[in-house]
Assembly symmetry: C2
Homo-oligomer: 382 residues x 2
Amino acid sequence: MSVGFSFEVSHHDVRTAARRGVLTTPHGAIETPAFMPVGTQGTVKGLLPGQVRDAGFGLILGNTYHLALRPGAEIVARHGGLHRFMDWDGAILTDSGGFQVYSLAALRKVAEAGATFRSHLDGSLHEFTPEGVIEIQEALGSDIAMVLDVCPPSTSTRSQLEDALSLTTRWAERTVAARKKADQVVFGIVQGGLDMELRRQHAAAISALPFEGIAIGGLSVGEPPAAMYPIAAATAAVLPVDRPRYLMGVGMPPDLPRCVMGGIDLFDCVFPTRAGRNGLLLTRKGRVVIKNAQYREDLTPPDPDCDCPVCTRYTKAYLRHLFVAKEILASVLNTMHNLHFYSRLMREVRQAVLDGTLPELAGELDLAYPVGEDSGEASARE
Amino acid sequence: MSVGFSFEVSHHDVRTAARRGVLTTPHGAIETPAFMPVGTQGTVKGLLPGQVRDAGFGLILGNTYHLALRPGAEIVARHGGLHRFMDWDGAILTDSGGFQVYSLAALRKVAEAGATFRSHLDGSLHEFTPEGVIEIQEALGSDIAMVLDVCPPSTSTRSQLEDALSLTTRWAERTVAARKKADQVVFGIVQGGLDMELRRQHAAAISALPFEGIAIGGLSVGEPPAAMYPIAAATAAVLPVDRPRYLMGVGMPPDLPRCVMGGIDLFDCVFPTRAGRNGLLLTRKGRVVIKNAQYREDLTPPDPDCDCPVCTRYTKAYLRHLFVAKEILASVLNTMHNLHFYSRLMREVRQAVLDGTLPELAGELDLAYPVGEDSGEASARE
């Protein structure tokens, strides 16, 4: 591990592959399994950093793609890095931009050297190389950087997929050679679509490199959870036990215990924050669609079992009013509640690892968050 | 005064009509002259109540028109009133809705009984009567209620204006007869356009009624400040010295010392909050238009002399980034700074009353906020 980092697994579940641990970074220690709120553009949408911290989070995600295009990594660096830029004193993981190049930008070409694309903001032409995105992330000063990966479309042939995987591996090797920063760790990314054999092969290739953690990418991109869980678990099963495993862009509430059961330590997903902005308030019994007329005169909090600053102060009638009136505070309060919900859920997940009750927790959440229910545009990553 | 209320003037300026005092309400005491942030729809746009309090405010404004139409006064009442509904433990003044009926709604008819209008939200037909708006404000449970007034268009003939004033007076008399609540005070409203004689006459008529405070309405509706200041001062000069004087919908920064010099105690204006949402950050040297390219790499705070949570944590480059990226946090932080600016400015105004330096303060602000400069849609009232 680099300076200031460690990852200790403190407990293994007896019934599943779940484990508890602590990921220590120069910006604090995070109990795992952990969920990272998404702060794409240098802010967790709608919240002040102190409010994210108060919700119980010590590690958030930032996006290289977005920050490199706007305001530019150099400006962030001149502030002393992303922590200072956005006034967040916790830890930050930056995504490499690989996913966004494939999903948001107008992709021009993936070549041996890197990926050429046009910005979704102004159409300007850019190239991301493995060395370049590490340099950007070193400028951003994140605690955890991600390698640039190739994200092949789900319609790829097996031969195209194999080409993408070997290019991802070569990019990973170049990343290892390029990294310079002592106080930043770098995670490799395993791809392989829904092909179990390719996933295992690629996991072995990426694990062979000296990354401080390994991510599983390319999941939760439209496939049903029932297809995703076994792939995540089978991939995690062949990853080194002593390194953190990060399942990128996952998950919905049931995904969290399910994938922890498969051996995952870290998650990120825009769902809780985006759902908040879309007026969905999350509870253990499912989502509250706050605009619904049934809440017009409802004097009870969104979740009577929740001790967050929203549920202890506000009624559903007030939150419905704010949402219907398109008040900024609607997004703020709904996001705040949802992050508190995720934080509490992860505490329960961590406790369930100790208690050996993850399957029961997962079963409860399956019922509360049925597959196929409108998720408020819960796509995987931004 | 009603139960729990008092207004004490503690100091009169020797050079001007300015005075300092304390307005005590069941929800706290407010040093005057004071500015009220506008919380039209049950929220000061973008901020949590604690953030408004931390900015230094103990009295905010809510709108009868907006709240009566949505969510409805009865729902607010069922929460125990507006304080509980929005979780604000400070004092609240509610506007009567008169101004909004004339400016926002589709006005149908002003008759002896009241004003009939169609909602700007859904076109539904409503009637506001003097008795009705007091009943609504009693249901909302504000500390200070306003009478329903007639706001004649600025194109009115003198005879139309006189008719509007006498109807406003008759409505004021009906208001006095209708009010029932012991722990709420009611302020009368003086109208009269830019006609000094009519203003004085109407001030005498309204002051003759047992209102606990008197407001001056119908100013800052497009006329230049140079026309507004003398009218406000001349009207204030004939109001009872022992009651608070509230200049509705004013003001821009220079208006505050100028109108305090004329004897005004209370102000409200959407300018600081709306300007924040529009990316204008207020300083003693003028407005910072945060989207401007010159701030792209500016590592200094919006106002180096400001000790607010925004200026002590963030750079103009970060705030520009948030604004350009259309992040919710841009509105939150800009509003927060601007309210801190107004709060500090009012502290300076109150000190200047003691020091006898209001004209100098006003002169400084005239230079920083020149008349005619784009004000970020700083219309008087919402």
